[in-house]
């Protein structure tokens, strides 16, 4: 089932590197793993004997656990590294740290770092495959994949069938701190590559300085004009330090202009959904009631994250040019 994958990539560093066909293939692969996740015993032996290490140079709960869960469900061994209490706290450089881990024979390094491009640098230094799990304000490719996967589900629900291969015709507004958001950068690229219309909504201080080359339909500071037309509203987390940097006057003003209030949510289209990468600031970018409503797909995003990350790990470790690793119960489904 995997033979159609468009070339085996060595790393997953940014959505910008991926072509539409590759995104579609990865999402299709994730469909198969979603089925595994739904089983009573959600585990396959596919990556037995392989080692996946999560290297988080920045705090995270959900992304790290999601990758570790994905690796374990593929029967890979997992290791985790975090900077506090590590050799880096003693002044070891990033390069020395990752080369040391590489020498232990790790197959995949899942890297999160506070500096944009750090996973790209790591990829130049190690033999292992590198997955970008969020680099500064640059990209968060697996988040974009799981978001696209979740939106495909929404389209499938609407049509009452299997998910379509892409997101053609879907209108999505990404609302909030686009300037500082790696989620927004990856999502804009992935959504548009899959045919969705992307709108950005933010105050000028939280919009990127330049949108030259961004594959979007529109950008502005007016949420109310768009609320009724979107199929999905993607709310970004507002980092509270933006206030002290003088980018916003107050949380209250932000919530009033850009928060998805219950009142605004009521004006959304029938069947339109709300996504959020988490963790949410309830009462700021999203009303508590909206976050708990049927429109919100936040827990679905988290659930899909595991299947998508299984697909990514599988894709990177698939023996190049060889037969696909045995995936019990997967091949028959794919051939149906």
């Amino acid at each position: 089932m995997t033979s159609a994958l468009v070339g085996v990539r060595r790393h997953l560093l940014s959505i910008a590197d991926l072509k539409r066909d590759e995104l579609i293939e990865l999402l299709a692969l994730a469909d198969s793993f979603a089925e595994v996740v739904d089983r009573p015993i959600p585990k396959v032996p596919t990556l037995r004997g392989r080692t996946v290490a999560t290297l988080f140079f920045e705090a995270s709960t959900r992304t790290r656990l999601s990758f570790e869960t994905a690796a374990k469900r593929l029967s890979a061994d997992t290791m985790s590294f975090s900077v506090s209490g590590s050799s880096m706290a003693k002044g070891e450089s990033l390069r020395d740290t990752v080369e040391t881990l590489d020498a232990m024979g790790i197959d995949v390094m899942v890297v999160r770092h506070h500096s944009a491009g750090a996973p790209h640098q790591v990829a130049r230094w190690v033999r292992a495959a590198v997955v970008n799990a969020g680099d500064g304000q640059h990209e968060h490719p697996t988040q974009a994949l799981l978001d696209c996967f979740t939106l495909r589900e929404v389209l499938a629900e609407r049509a009452g069938g299997r998910p379509p291969e892409d997101l053609c015709g879907l209108k999505v507004a990404i609302v909030g701190d686009v300037r500082h958001s790696r989620v927004a950068r990856s999502d804009v690229l992935a959504l548009s590559a899959l045919g969705a219309e992307v709108h950005l909504v933010a105050p000028a201080t939280l919009m990127p300085c330049s949108l030259e080359g961004w594959p979007i339909v529109g950008a502005g500071a007016e949420l109310d004009a768009l609320v009724g037309e979107m199929d999905a509203i993607y709310l970004l987390r507002l980092q509270l330090e933006r206030m002290s940097a003088g980018l916003l006057p107050s949380l209250r003003e932000y919530a009033t202009r850009f928060g998805l209030s219950t009142e605004r949510a009521m004006r959304m289209k029938e069947g339109a959904v709300v996504l959020h990468p988490g963790p949410m600031n309830r009462g700021v970018e999203i009303d508590a009631a909206v976050a708990s409503s049927e429109r919100a797909r936040v827990t679905r995003q988290v659930r899909n994250g595991v299947a998508v990350r299984m697909a990514v790990l599988f894709h990177l470790l698939e023996p190049a040019g060889g037969a696909p690793a045995p995936l019990e119960g997967l091949a028959d489904r794919a051939e149906r």
Partner: protein, 433 residues
């Protein structure tokens, strides 16, 4: 080879202010003895082949970070001077952002003592404020008395306009030049690259062109007020060029330099996230590069200066956020600028060399450097082969560091020989000591 021996540079084209002409050059006792179309070889003279080459005055760099004292793991005066000689230079101006900073007479003397025996002449620039902290003025008169000509807090701009005003007023009658690294800290804060389409796409915090232009604009107003000359280091934006053009038209006593890297590389390089491309001011947009090139052609720019800024490998092999800004320049400057300005047809070889020689020598007050090549002048010579293609190999740099942004690229033009005070310190591209 002692400085006193005779050398004949044979078969080249000598570059002067008006153009190039076929001539051999006889050097003896450290000075140019004869410049004539066809010279015989005196007994015992060393003959250096200049066939197919330009014979120009050796270059003068207004902007070199030699790192000594304080950061000898990155560069020493010796290693930096060797890189300079290989790049065709006979003199460099050492920037004062060392540890300790060059901000008092004793450090000036120390650095000069360390520079004794270097392959090229090392002039010393001093800081404008003590410790480059932007608070108290250095003893301008005492340092000027010692022969310091350029003062700068380079690495950062003087943020306090009131303080810079007082510095310009105080130093006004000392015959010195204050040089500014224009970068308004409040606008540049946190920026790791040029703010624009690329920084927005890459999610890398940007430093706007305005951070440079706001400070340049402020400084020009202070020059207008005080009449004290200023030199502007590494201008990098189209907006700065417009401000400079206005200042020139007004007749303000200002000079300006650009770097080879700002003439040849853009912010698109940062898409590799390789910190070797992190530099201050940052690599700018294509439009800015074009404006800088035009400004060289229009005569607005006085000098090409390297901002040679060595950093050890481990410092540059780090996330963009953590890596220090700066790149090597001395060994590649002439070839890079040749490609950007002469090969592209914008200016003549003679114009290019004036940007590297007589003009910077005048700004730095280095009368023994920068040409012209004429009998009786000190023999600072650079023999440049404009046709040879060179692959830049960072590991083979004479610098203690390897942070050249041109690693792995082919450049056109190579310095074949360099003479400093008559001594051939580089022969056939090899440093002689």
């Amino acid at each position: 080879m002692s400085a006193g021996g005779s050398v004949v540079i044979r078969g080249g084209e000598v570059v002067d202010a008006t153009g190039v002409h076929r001539a051999d050059v006889l050097v003896g006792a450290g000075i140019v003895q004869v410049v004539e179309e066809s010279l015989g070889v005196p007994p015992g003279a060393l003959v250096l082949d200049a066939g197919g080459c330009l014979v120009a005055p050796a270059l003068v760099d207004l902007h070199t970070h030699l790192r000594e004292p304080g950061a000898e793991q990155a560069e020493t005066i010796e290693s930096g001077s060797r890189a300079a000689a290989l790049g065709g230079y006979s003199a460099v101006v050492a920037m004062p952002n060392t540890t300790p900073a060059i901000d008092c007479a004793s450090v000036v003397r120390d650095v000069r003592a360390l520079a004794h025996g270097a392959l090229v002449d090392v002039a010393v620039a001093a800081a404008i404020t003590v410790g480059r902290a932007g608070e108290r003025l250095v003893p301008f008169a005492e340092l000027a008395e010692l022969g310091v000509r350029l003062f700068t807090d380079d690495g950062a701009g003087v943020q306090d306009a009131g303080l810079l005003r007082r510095a310009l007023e105080y130093a006004g009658d000392l015959g010195v030049v204050l040089a500014e690294h224009c970068e308004d800290a409040s606008l540049a804060k946190g920026g790791l690259m040029h703010e624009g389409a690329w920084s927005s796409r890459l999610g890398v915090p940007g430093q706007p062109a305005l951070a440079e232009e706001v400070m340049l604009s402020r400084d020009l107003a202070l020059v207008r007020l005080t009449g004290t000359p200023m030199h502007f280091l590494h201008l990098s934006t189209a907006g700065s060029i417009r401000l400079l053009a206005e200042a020139r038209a007004e007749g303000l006593p200002v000079t300006a330099e650009v770097t080879p890297h700002h003439l040849s590389l853009t912010d698109a390089e940062l898409s590799s996230f390789d910190a070797v491309f992190k530099v201050n001011p940052p690599l700018r947009s294509e439009g800015d590069v074009a404006a800088l090139r035009r400004a060289c052609a229009d005569g607005l720019i006085d000098a090409i200066a390297t901002d040679h800024a060595p950093h050890p490998r481990e410092a540059k092999e780090a996330p963009l956020e953590d890596a220090p800004p700066g790149m090597l320049g001395l060994e590649t400057a002439l070839s890079v600028a040749w490609g950007a300005l002469v090969e592209s047809g914008l200016i003549s070889a003679a114009r290019l060399f004036s940007l590297f020689t007589v003009q910077p020598a005048r700004i730095a007050g280095l009368g023994a450097h920068g040409g012209p090549i004429a009998a009786g002048r000190p023999a600072q010579l650079c023999v440049f082969d404009p046709a040879e293609r060179v692959l830049v190999e960072p590991e083979r740099s004479a610098s203690r560091s390897a942070n050249t942004p041109f690693g792995g690229r082919w450049l056109t033009g190579k310095v074949r020989h360099t003479l400093v005070h008559g001594e051939p310190v580089v022969i056939d591209g090899k440093a002689q000591r």
